[in-house]
């Protein structure tokens, strides 16, 4: 019998379950990759785009995206964490074998079934590739069910590129293109330079049968959206993931409230149609 992790919330929705870090990999000076094992008998059963709340006791808790594909997660999952504050710094101090605690999975993920048979444009900025990775992997694992795939990925410098091995693997997948651009190249960089929207001219797609999924820093959305809408992709076919402060992930603490929406429960993945009229969505 396996227990779904979120069933443990029956006693208290705030109390996590212990989990173990089984591997740590340093991607960049600020980003690390973690493999996490749930206690035996537990499964996460997440959807791409969902997240967990990660605790280091005595430090606190933070929402972190699950970056591994559901089909590859069997009592384990992966995450990529940028050290920016209390909890994320504390995670970076932990080595394989350490115990943390997990709640979740939370939120609504991407509606992958609605992407079937369509061409897909993934647009990732920086750490935005982490939540997208679970979706990309899921799509690639089931490659035959989807149309052409484009991944546009932008980072600040070549050193900031995350998931390098995955990028190679994806690029080698059938009918899949990966385009990477950096803001500031170094001498060794031979690829694209400049903001991510510069990559769009490289793409050929049928707007009517294309879905786009964007995850990146707040500033990126506006320009990428303009580009995609300009190319005729419908509001309802553009998906994004929102980041907000989240102290509970269960629609209580009020931090992630965006108009009448609780990002943690109603999101973090939204279609542009759902949020385009919300004043604060892209502020």
């Amino acid at each position: 019998m396996t227990t779904l992790l979120n069933e443990t919330l029956k006693e208290s929705i705030y109390m996590p379950t212990p989990a173990r870090i089984t591997a740590v990999k340093t991607f960049t000076p600020t980003e690390k990759f973690f493999k996490i094992a749930l206690p035996s008998g537990f499964s996460l059963a997440h959807r791409p785009g969902q997240f967990v709340e990660v605790s280091v006791f005595g430090v606190g808790e933070a929402p972190i995206s699950i970056c591994s594909a559901p089909s590859r997660s069997n009592g384990t999952f992966e995450m990529c964490v940028r050290a920016v504050g209390k909890l994320t710094d504390a995670l970076h101090r932990l080595a394989a074998g350490s115990t943390i605690a997990i709640r979740g999975p939370f939120g609504r993920g991407f509606p992958i079934e609605r992407f079937r048979g369509k061409d897909i444009i993934f647009v990732a900025g920086g750490l935005g590739l982490a939540p997208l990775r679970s979706l990309i992997d899921e799509v690639i694992n089931d490659r035959g069910k989807f149309g052409r795939i484009h991944l546009l990925y932008g980072t600040r410098t070549p050193q900031d590129i995350l998931f390098a091995e995955d990028l190679v693997a994806w690029a080698n997948a059938p009918r899949t293109e990966v385009h990477i651009t950096v803001d500031r190249p170094d001498e060794a960089w031979k690829g694209n330079v400049g903001v991510i929207t510069k990559l769009f001219p490289k793409l050929r797609f049928h707007a009517r049968n294309t879905v786009a999924i964007i995850v990146g820093p707040p500033v990126m959305y506006k320009f990428v959206l303009m580009e995609l809408l300009g190319k005729g992709i419908a509001d309802g076919n553009i998906w994004l993931s929102f980041e907000r402060q989240m102290k509970c992930a269960v629609g209580k603490c009020g931090h992630c409230q965006l108009h009448h929406i609780y990002t943690c429960q109603d999101g973090p993945a939204f279609s542009y149609a759902q949020v385009k009229h919300l004043e604060e969505a892209f502020s």
């Binding site: 005595g58 430090v59 209390k86 710094d89 504390a90 101090r93």
Partner: protein
């Protein structure tokens, strides 16, 4: 745990009343385990041993004379982490009241014709002299906050202390607002973390913990004026602990 693995900490004091270090001693009443959690290598107020091999330096007091600077720099060079302890170190504290006065005259008022014997210059927070990694605000510091800061340091991170306004904390305790008791209070622009101790004991906040990140200075003054304070009284209130910070703000404003 062997004594060797404990973080080594040292206490130093410059111009101050030593009340913050006394509060550190008082912390032991509620947290005797502190002595097992750290190794204190220097604490002149409480011990004779003097170790120079410290990782964390807690510094109380303001820098008020040129000759303090070398010692501060020496501490900075030896310590991995420097923590300013209390309002004097964090803000210049009450010592900085005199910064708005003519210093030679101040000196003469206290020491008469012998004034020249006493070296001094405007009081400054230690951050004005050396890099400070964290500050524990308050006059004096709050002992629970000190214990909390130490746990954060033991966890390998810098202390994470509130910087929202005192009113938040005050209302959590359901104090009747000082303004509704016919008094005035700097709570709206002052950092919380003291358990709103002054309003809780019937006295308006004096700002000893320093300003919140973006204080609405003009609105605060308007409120004080509306509650019957003259501009001179407002200035005096805002300079009890905030002289250095307000003079910095004024200087910034003057620059444009």
């Amino acid at each position: 745990m062997s004594a060797k693995t404990l973080p080594r900490i040292a206490f130093f004091e410059f111009t101050s009343c030593e009340g913050c270090q006394l509060t550190v001693v008082d912390t032991l009443q509620d947290h005797p385990e502190l002595l097992n959690a750290v190794e204190i290598v220097q604490f002149r107020e409480a011990m004779s041993e003097r170790g120079d091999n410290y990782q964390i330096a807690f510094i109380e007091g303001s820098c008020t004379r040129p000759s303090d600077e070398a010692k501060l720099k020496e501490i900075r060079a030896k310590a991995q982490i420097v923590v300013a302890l209390g309002a004097c170190a964090h803000l210049g504290g009450v010592n900085a009241i005199r910064n708005r006065m003519a210093l030679p005259e101040v000196r003469e008022y206290v020491y008469g014709e012998k004034a020249a014997w006493f070296e001094t210059y405007p009081a400054r927070p230690i951050e004005a002299v050396i890099k400070v990694d964290a500050s524990l605000p308050g006059c004096p510091i709050d002992r629970n906050e000190f214990a909390m800061a130490v746990t954060h340091l033991l966890q390998g991170r810098l202390p994470n202390l509130p910087d929202y306004p005192l009113c938040i904390e005050c209302k959590l305790l359901e104090n009747v607002c000082m303004y509704q008791r016919g008094k005035t209070c700097l709570g709206p622009i002052t950092r919380a973390g003291c358990a709103a101790i002054c309003p809780s004991y019937g006295d308006g906040c004096e700002g000893c913990r320093g300003l919140i990140p973006k204080p609405n200075w003009a609105a605060m003054k308007a409120v004080l004026r509306e509650h019957g304070m003259t501009d001179a009284e407002i200035d005096s209130r805002l300079t009890m602990f905030l002289t250095y910070q307000t003079m910095q703000l004024e200087a910034k404003a003057a620059e444009g």
